[in-house]
């Protein structure tokens, strides 16, 4: 039972990071119908900025602020430069554009920074472990769980209590009508990208805090997982993305813990098979909702 609880904490921590990433993908998808594969590079950007800020001996809190602000800015610039010109184009065009942005950023990371991992020296205080009875809770792991909870609560408040947040919920249902109320389309889209950048930045920091280094491909796998999580949840549904993220984290951690040794290399394959099984029964995802993607 204790082992199970321990695994549950691991699942919460990993699933929370997937949930933040999936949420970032879903926020943008729900509004302009774009699956932004360059989301992973936003995450990686947070890692690099953190690495450089710490290397420059900036105070830790300032390093965190810069590391989260950079992907927010990059996401908004990305929208302005790459996605706005193709807004309203077919899903395929949008998808290919995001592949291109992702590839360009990765090449830039490789050529101007390094193809090899850059260390992110997190403060030693973060590597401790809290023992609660038989449970070992890493400090980084608890920060990860708490941060996820805080981000989810903050986003919920934003979406339900502010004009900009409500405009985003409205835009997810019917973008044309949002414009018909005098709300600026570009502002709503830019807000969505800024939020996705914020979520990617926070997830990126949590990711490098666990791994201690950042490399050009860092964002690829977690965002692929987040994409799967968003599909499990029903693309475009924000609650679904969170549910899908936690479910995927739970499946992975439990497989890691209970799968026979010989099967471990196939952990991701087994996880994806379970996902396919979910989709066989609910092809529209767990919490799918019809989205209107007209502009």
């Amino acid at each position: 039972m204790d082992i199970f609880l321990q695994q549950l904490l691991n699942a919460l921590s990993l699933g929370g990071t997937y949930a933040l990433l999936a949420l970032g993908l879903a926020v943008v998808f729900s509004i302009i119908g774009l699956i932004n594969f360059a989301h992973g590079e936003l995450m990686t950007t947070a890692g690099y900025v953190m690495a450089f800020a710490l290397a420059a001996a900036l105070p830790f809190p300032l390093a965190i602020i810069l590391a989260v602000a950079a992907p927010v800015l990059l996401a908004v610039v990305m929208e302005r430069v790459a996605f706005r010109p193709v807004r309203g184009a077919s899903g395929t065009t949008l998808l290919l554009t995001s592949f291109a942005v992702s590839a360009i950023l990765r090449v830039l990371f490789q050529n101007f920074i390094s193809a090899r991992p850059v260390p992110v020296p997190m403060p030693a205080a973060l590597s401790g472990v809290i023992n609660i009875g038989p449970l070992h809770l890493g400090i980084i792991q608890s920060i990860s769980i708490a941060t996820t909870a805080l981000m989810l609560a903050g986003l919920t408040l934003f979406l339900n209590r502010t004009v900009a947040g409500r405009a985003m919920r409205a835009a997810a249902e019917d973008f044309a009508i949002v414009r018909l109320m005098g709300l600026r389309a570009n502002g709503v889209v830019a807000t969505a990208f800024a939020i996705s950048g914020l979520l990617a930045g926070v997830a990126g920091l949590l990711w490098v805090a666990q791994r201690g280094s950042v490399d050009p491909l860092m964002g690829f796998l977690p965002v692929l997982k987040a994409f799967i999580a968003a599909i499990i949840g029903g693309l475009g549904s924000l609650t679904g993305a969170v549910a899908g993220g936690f479910l995927l984290g739970f499946i992975e951690v439990m497989l890691q813990a209970w799968l026979p040794e010989a099967w471990l290399p196939y952990r991701d394959a087994v996880a994806i098979m379970l996902v396919i099984a979910v989709l066989l029964f609910r092809p529209q995802g767990l919490l799918a909702r019809k989205t209107v993607l007209k502009l």
Binding site: R169, A170, D174, I177, L180, M181, G182, L183
Partner: protein, 240 residues
């Protein structure tokens, strides 16, 4: 006598969706304080015309002026902020947003809480039913209530001219009567209205003038009384 420039002044308006030309160079004016109706069979291009006026459909025109200002290249949000808005066909409410949220967003162009609260109070006086449903999700409202919400949401931007696209669609007769009474009432408060309606008899009853669209072209136009008396309209739409 020189008549003042019309509030809405359109000539040579064309709407094409790729190869499909839905509206083919129409001329249309609406003077301040008028109710003008745009009639025509399904697919004639009525919705395309209204959508094009607010910039939601691809448009070309020789002249597209509102309040004397050229709006041909303005995006929808700027046209709405300038005082022209549309109640779209099929209501297009946001099912998961509450009634109160619709009113809040509808009034997005008002700067400051004062004017917003004032307009909102006006709307709730005009549509008491919405006051009872403020915290309800719009998707749970009846069809008639959704139509009222759609109109209230549009009116929250305090427009000078309201474009209404088939407000009676799919509603019970007594609700339709209430909506038409409301449209007349809005006009008597100084609002200018361009109304698209399938119910030709009702529309001509409250309108001052009308246009009949056939395959994207205006075939007949005139005062409501003349149109009502016209043999063509009787045969085609009034079934008399």
């Amino acid at each position: 006598m020189t008549s003042p420039a019309p509030l809405l002044d359109v000539s040579g308006l064309t709407v094409s969706y790729g190869a499909v030309e839905a509206v083919r160079g129409i001329d249309l004016t609406v003077a301040k304080g008028e109710i003008v109706t745009l009639l025509g069979a399904n697919g004639a291009g009525k919705s395309s015309t209204l959508n094009a006026l607010v910039g939601l459909a691809p448009r070309r025109a020789r002249r597209l002026a509102f309040s004397g200002q050229d709006i041909a290249h303005l995006p929808t949000e700027m046209i709405v902020r300038g005082g022209m808005t549309l109640v779209p066909e099929g209501r297009r409410i946001f099912p998961t947003l509450t009634v109160a949220e619709h009113l809040l967003l509808g009034g997005a162009k008002h700067a400051g809480r004062g004017p917003l609260a004032e307009t909102r109070a006006e709307m709730l006086a005009l549509f008491p039913i919405l006051n009872e449903r403020l915290d309800q999700k719009a998707g749970s409202l009846s069809g008639g209530e959704q139509q009222m919400l759609s109109i209230a949401r549009a009116l929250m931007s305090s427009p000078d001219i309201l474009l209404l696209d088939e407000p009676s669609l799919g509603l019970a007769p007594q609700i339709v009567d209430r909506i038409f009474a409301l449209v007349s009432d809005l006009r008597s408060r100084g609002l200018t209205i361009l109304l698209v309606e399938q119910n030709v008899a009702l529309a001509l009853e409250i309108a001052d003038r009308g246009y009949v669209l056939v395959n994207g072209r205006i075939e007949i136009s005139g005062s409501a009384a003349d149109l009502m008396a016209s043999a063509e309209i009787r045969d085609a739409y009034l079934g008399a």
